[in-house]
Symmetry: C2
Subunit: 304 residues, 2 copies
C-alpha cells in the first residue's frame, strides 16, 4: 500500500459500522464556471443540499443513437469480462466501459451538456473512472441494496477523496415500476464506515449482488430521518441525472414488462486519481476502475 | 367435486396459458344503492374501467385503534397457522382472519364506509371470504409477483364467479419506496387461464412466494399495453382502497427503513359462496377461505 496517502475514510477494517465526518466539499467549483451548460447557483445549492440533480429530458436527442450503439456492442462483447449477466435468468445486466468500444459513446461523455457540469461540480479537469450501461430487464431485473459508490471506490479502488460525480442518462423511462434508482437526499454528507472486511476478488460477486458496504436497518433509518425521506429518480428517456459519489442509493426489482436501461459515466477529478486500494488488496481490473487520468476535453458543441 | 357448478374460469388444468373472456359484470350494483357511503356514478364508472379506486384518507381515524389491536394480537397468535413469517428474516408477514381474534376489527369490516361500498359493488349482501394484515418490514419485506386473487380463489377455494372485492386500509404510508401495491388498470376485464397444475397444499408455500398462477412476460406485457400502463396504490395512513377480485397486481421489495402495513377484507357476494375447489383438490383451510356465508350487517354509523 502507498503509505503517502492518509486514509480519510476507513471502512471494512474489521470493526463495527460507524459514522465518520465528510471532510471534503460537495461542490468544488463555482456558478460562474466556464461552459454554456454549467449549473446556475440555485441548481448548485440544490445539488449541495440533496446530493443529486435531475434534468428532465436534457439529452433526449442522444437516446436513439446510444441505443443503436449498444445493440452493436452486445454481439461484440460476448464472453468478455465487461459484460455482466443476471444470476438467475442469464440476461444482460451491465456493459462496463462502453466508451472503450464505441467512439460515439466516448463523445457522449465529452458532450458539454454532461462535461460542463461534471467539471463545474468537481472544480477541475476530469477523467472517466468508470462507465457502464445497466439494463434491468422487464420482470427479471433484480433489486440492488443501498450503498455509497464512494465507499467501494475508496476501499477497493483506492480513490482518496470525495471528488467524483456520476452523470447518467435514462435510455428508457425510469418510473416507480421498473426498478428505478432510489436516493436518500442529504446522505452524501455522512460517511458510513462499514463493518466487516472485503472478501478477495469481491467485485466478481458484488456486481451481481452487493453485500459488503451496505448499511444495516438502524443506519439506514438514521439517514432517512436525518435527510428527510427518500427520493426516486424518475423521468422520461433522455433525462440527465448527476449524483454525488457518496450518496446512499439503491433500487428495487423491475416489476414492469419493459426494461430500465441507463448509461452511467463516473467523472473523477484528475487530482483524485486512484492509489493502492485502502483494503490493502490488489486493485480491481481497469474495466471497473481506470487508472488513466488523462483529462476529457469537452466537445465544442453538443453532439448531434 | 360438485358437478352442479360449471367451471367458467378453468385454470391450471395442465394446458398452455391463455386468455379467457370475463363473463361476469364488474359492478353488480347501482349508484342509487342504499347507504350513506356508497360510491357516486363517476366513482363507479372509474372502478368499472380501472378495476380499483383509491379513497385518500377516508378512514384515518381507524388507524391508531387498529394498530393497537394488532400489537395485542401478535402475542396471542404465536405458533398458530394464522401467522405467516418471512422466509429469510423470520419477521411477521401476515395475520389471517384478524376479525376472528378482535371484535374491534370485525366492526371495522362492518363500518359503513367499507361495507356500503362492498355491498354496492357486488349488488348483494356480502360475507368475508378472507381477511388479513400484511406487514412488509423495512428493508426486509419481499416482493410479491403479479397475480389475480380470483384465479387462486377459483382454483384453490372453489369461488364460482367474479363477484368479490377487496377493501383495504393503509395502516402506514404506502409510497413508491416501501413495497406498495402495483396494479394494471383494466386487467380485471381479462382472465388469464394459467399453465401447469396446482401442487398439493400449494398455500403453504404460495403465501410466502407465489409461483402457480403468475403470468409470463408476454402475457404481462399484453395486459400492460391493453390496459394503458401501470398504477401504484400510494397514500397516507387511513387511505381506503377497493380492488376487483380479478385485477392483476403485485408488489416490489420494501427498500425503505419503515414498514408497509395494510389490512385487507375480501368481501364476497352471499350468492357466490365457495364450492369444491376447481382444482379437484381438497379445500384450503377456513382461515384462508371461509365457508360461512352469513351476511355482514352494516353498523348504523361509522366507528368512532
Amino acid at each position: 500500500m502507498d503509505m503517502q496517502v492518509k486514509d480519510l475514510y476507513p471502512s471494512r477494517t474489521g470493526g463495527e459500522a460507524r459514522w465518520l465526518p465528510r471532510v471534503d466539499p460537495v461542490v468544488w467549483g463555482e456558478a460562474d464556471q466556464p461552459g454554456d451548460f454549467a449549473l446556475n447557483q440555485q441548481q448548485l445549492d440544490s445539488f449541495d443540499e440533496n446530493g443529486f440533480i435531475i434534468l428532465e429530458g436534457a439529452v433526449e436527442d442522444l437516446v436513439a443513437p446510444i441505443q443503436k450503439e449498444l445493440e452493436a456492442m452486445k454481439e461484440q462483447l460476448l464472453g468478455r469480462e465487461e459484460l455482466v449477466i443476471e444470476p438467475d435468468s442469464k440476461e444482460l445486466r451491465s456493459i462496463f466501459q462502453p466508451h472503450f468500444f464505441s467512439e460515439y459513446i466516448k463523445k457522449v461523455a465529452r458532450d458539454p451538456r454532461l462535461l460542463d457540469i461534471a467539471r463545474q461540480l468537481l472544480g477541475d479537469d476530469v477523467y472517466l473512472h468508470q462507465s457502464r450501461v445497466n439494463v434491468k430487464p422487464g420482470m427479471k431485473g433484480r433489486s440492488f441494496p443501498w450503498h455509497s459508490d464512494f465507499e467501494t471506490w475508496h476501499v477497493e479502488d483506492g480513490m482518496p477523496q470525495m471528488r467524483a460525480v456520476t452523470g447518467w442518462i435514462m435510455l428508457t423511462e425510469n418510473d416507480p415500476f421498473n426498478g428505478p434508482l432510489f436516493l436518500i437526499p442529504g446522505s452524501h454528507k455522512h460517511y458510513l464506515s462499514c463493518a466487516g472486511t472485503t472478501p478477495e476478488d469481491n467485485y466478481k460477486q458484488s456486481l451481481r449482488k452487493q453485500e459488503a458496504g451496505t448499511p444495516d436497518l438502524a443506519s439506514l433509518d438514521w439517514l432517512i430521518q436525518e435527510g428527510g425521506g427518500l427520493a426516486g429518480a424518475f423521468g422520461k428517456p433522455g433525462t440527465l441525472v448527476f449524483h454525488e459519489c457518496n450518496i446512499m442509493h439503491g433500487s428495487p426489482d423491475n416489476l414492469a414488462s419493459y426494461p430500465r436501461t441507463n448509461l452511467f459515466f463516473v467523472y473523477n477529478s484528475i487530482k483524485n486519481g486512484c492509489k493502492a486500494p485502502f483494503s490493502g488488496q490488489k486493485p480491481r481490473p481497469a474495466f471497473l476502475a481506470s487508472r488513466d487520468t488523462q483529462p476529457l476535453e469537452p466537445l465544442k458543441e453538443p453532439l448531434k
